[in-house]
């Protein structure tokens, strides 16, 4: 079967056009980006933790 053939794609994706097709085919983030985002979220939660603690205890 020819890669990229319309036979391999869901009908709703074919009907919705190229934008929906590229969105549907987008896979998960790579391992590096996954770790980068996870560390960023973890650090952001720490910063927010300290901010809330500051507000609660000092203000």
């Amino acid at each position: 079967m020819n890669p990229g053939s319309t036979l391999e794609r869901p009908q709703e994706v074919i009907e919705a056009g190229p934008a929906a097709e590229s969105s549907a085919e987008k896979g998960p983030l790579g391992i590096g980006a996954t770790f980068a985002v996870a560390v960023g979220i973890w650090l952001a939660s720490f910063c927010l933790d300290f901010f809330v603690l500051f507000v609660v205890t000092v203000v």
């Binding site: 987008k26 996954t34 996870a38 979220i41 952001a44 927010l48």
Partner: protein, 185 residues
């Protein structure tokens, strides 16, 4: 601290879901594998968590392990215990499972490390994130992290992991309250 947990963790969970949504591609729910699982399967994994929790308690008692300093400081600093429990049993499990067994698991499983690598790596990183505990507790967290990863892998869903994590934290909270003599709050 419990109040901060109740504010921070939902906000961080929302931020992560927003990042996934803004990126395009699968919806945040699909990306995190928040899909329905039969209740009987969830209960089966929760039962395994209860067994693991009991084993952890027996081992802790056998080696005469004291309550971690961090736990004591959390309870001593809590103004209102119900807020602490909501943080422990609801906010923390949802946030950590979405981040580790949802977001990270998906990214690692799609890499050359594969699903088995995702189970091991998320368990190790999740355990390491609990740096406030000592080696004994970290070892137990790695064991529980592996069981959580297996649940995520076998059921292809995040929901059993959240339920298991909530039950595990509930058991730990009850145990700590009993040990600290706070049952009559």
């Amino acid at each position: 601290m419990s109040l901060a947990t109740c504010v921070t963790m939902p906000a961080s969970t929302a931020l992560l879901l927003l990042i996934v949504k803004l990126r395009g591609g699968p919806s945040p729910a699909d990306y995190m594998a928040a899909v329905d699982v039969p209740l009987s399967r969830i209960l089966g994994w929760v039962g395994m968590t209860l067994i693991l929790g009991m084993v952890a308690s027996v081992v802790s008692a056998a080696v005469d392990r004291p309550i971690p300093e961090f736990i004591i400081s959390v309870y001593e600093g809590a103004y209102f215990y119900p807020v602490l429990w909501v943080g422990l049993v609801a906010c923390a499990p949802v946030y950590e499972e979405v981040l580790f067994r949802g977001f990270m698991f998906r990214g690692i499983a799609a890499s050359p490390l594969g699903p088995a690598g995702a189970v091991v790596l998320t368990a190790v990183v999740w355990s390491a994130a609990h740096f406030q505990y000592e080696h004994f507790e970290l070892g137990m967290l790695i064991a529980f992290g592996l069981v959580l990863g297996m649940a995520r892998l076998r059921t292809r869903s995040l929901l059993p992991c959240i339920a298991m994590h909530a039950v595990f934290n509930l058991l730990a909270a009850i145990e700590a309250m009993a040990a600290l003599g706070l049952a009559g709050w």
